[in-house]
Symmetry: C2
Subunit: 154 residues, 2 copies
DNA sequence: TTAGCTGCAAAGTATTTGCAGTGGT
DNA sequence: ACCACTGCAAATACTTTGCAGCTAA
């Protein structure tokens, strides 16, 4: 199993247009700009962060930067259709990242209970739980394994 | 490996008093009330939720219910000393639960990306990653495995 | 007695919502 | 033309912080 293989731009836009058609939703300029910004991101981002990235892009394109409320609304939509995945790492702000190509994509983190330091881990171990979920009717699965405790310095 | 074996009340209070001594901190009435409330909880709780539970208890004891700010301060302290563990399940509010007896305690959840429905899972699979972390100097480890996707109804 | 802790109130940050106007399809 | 979507602004939710008085050790 492979980790961290994100969707390509083409795959992402195709997934979006399929969902849009299905939902009777529209491909607006802010929507497109936000997805482009998300795809360029090298790290998970917050709503605020995505808006700033879109802001930077909007100078290239002729459109204006999207409003924060619009960012939140689209983040929710992208998450719902599986384009982005919400990643809850200890902090107070919700952060997102582009979903992986594989259904069984997952992430490993370590979060220090004291200083909040986060470290990404490499090792992978696929859980047998996922197959149980699939049998129950869950779909579009993603999973995340997070460790917490105290880091060497704390 | 066993799951969901929470600390007993005695163990919890002993862990607290040890930490208090070490930190030069004090066992105050609100602190005690909050821990008692947390220990009685049958489900993970938010700051608001813990305050309400403490409120209920405070009628039995003769003390008053703690202020919300005090709840947040103690939640942070309890989390730091490993008495409680912060559990980030999709939502916007931080929730906590009483830590397990074992160091390698973990939780399995499924969170629906659309309706937010959360389901607790039973299966366990210990990750080999934890031993790597221990070698690196991390301690007081806990881990959590969370699945997300769409539930049968969505 | 001396800090740590608390309640209260105010500030700060994150996220959501109402609404009138704009723009995809 | 219809209706989803947007920007703007206000509302809401959550969490943190400052401070003066209280109290455990």
């Amino acid at each position: 199993m492979q980790c961290h293989h994100r969707l390509t731009n083409e795959e992402a836009f195709e997934r979006l247009s399929t969902a849009l058609k299905r939902d009777g939703a529209r491909l607006t300029a802010p929507r497109k700009l936000l997805l482009e910004a998300a795809l360029k991101a090298k790290k998970p981002f917050s709503a605020e962060g995505l808006m700033q990235m879109a802001e930077a892009l909007s100078e290239t394109e002729k459109s204006a930067a999207p409003d924060l409320a619009t960012v939140y609304r689209n983040l929710a939509y992208f998450n719902e259709i599986g384009l982005l995945a919400r990643v809850d790492v200890g902090g107070e702000t919700a952060i997102y990242e582009v979903s992986s190509k594989e259904q069984d994509h997952h992430h490993h983190y370590f979060v220090c209970r004291k200083c909040g330091k986060t470290e990404a881990l490499e090792a992978c171990s696929m859980s047998p739980v996922e197959s149980v979920l699939k049998k129950k009717g869950y779909h579009g699965l993603t999973h995340r394994l997070e460790f917490s405790g105290l880091c060497p310095g704390c």
